[in-house]
Symmetry: C2
Subunit: 191 residues, 2 copies
Amino acid sequence: MDELKARILAEGQNLGHGILKIDSILNHQMDPLLMKHMGEEFARRFADKHVQRILTAEVSGIGPALMTGLVMNVPVVYARKQKPLTMSGPVYLEVAPSHTKGGEVLLLVSAEFLHAGENVLVLDDFLASGQTIEKLVRMVYSAKANLVGIAAVIEKLFEGGRERMAKYGVPIEVLVSISEMTDDGRIIFAN
Amino acid sequence: MDELKARILAEGQNLGHGILKIDSILNHQMDPLLMKHMGEEFARRFADKHVQRILTAEVSGIGPALMTGLVMNVPVVYARKQKPLTMSGPVYLEVAPSHTKGGEVLLLVSAEFLHAGENVLVLDDFLASGQTIEKLVRMVYSAKANLVGIAAVIEKLFEGGRERMAKYGVPIEVLVSISEMTDDGRIIFAN
């Protein structure tokens, strides 16, 4: 997705240790039109999968997932990282390591929003080590829903997430792949 | 906004103590098309305000703010509640009491995303006590930006937020107003 690549090159910062700062377009500020284009692209790539629901995680997955849901016209569920007072009833619960915050984060999804037999697309902002996405995938399995695909806005090829996800046997679609983030601050794309 | 009112009546739950659960359409699962309609309505109401940026808070403000930003074609900034590793440089920092989580939450906005002289619309999911929204307003003031309006999807009239916000002298627009949440579980709208 050339538009996104150009924005990452113009505005992204390689903070070292594989940390990519793209706060101006995704993780703190959002460009709604760019995000709509992301949604259109994801919808195109999963057009034959009969997606019935999208599962993402708060916070930064919400924007891309919402726009993809808009184009696909399906509901979007975001895993909560804390239990709000309004969350009553049974939940699917997973614990994931946090790459950008340090430590661990909870991922909670109310059982009422994942249905057995339904086609679910898991979508997040980054596919890095794949650990967060894998926890979302586990929730889909726990609910006996059908995982039909894995989507991420940005892949960091050097963190092994794609290998980790291969065993699930579903299409993995990313909008841009970063093959290297060099010590001297460059961001190198694979495609 | 009749569509939203109907959905709240059909799917919302009055959990007592003024807590409204609308996890199926806003706070955990999102209906993208309904949210798009919210965005169109907010854009209509603030059409003459020359909004240049929208400021909201994670998590539940993101969806409505993003859709409003899409219709208005302006960037959307969401205050973070934790400092991610990617947040470097100066920030505007406020501390707000949390209604649905208990305790206090931080609100952090990078100084690079609030500009002096710019017209900012503050938009959140709920206008209840108004304490979270007021913290966002204070950030707009701290940045010497122009507050041009306050928007919320749902107002709880009985929690005093509108009175708290009156001193800022800007239009306050909400899509639905709840006047009462009764002990026997009803949700009563003001309009």
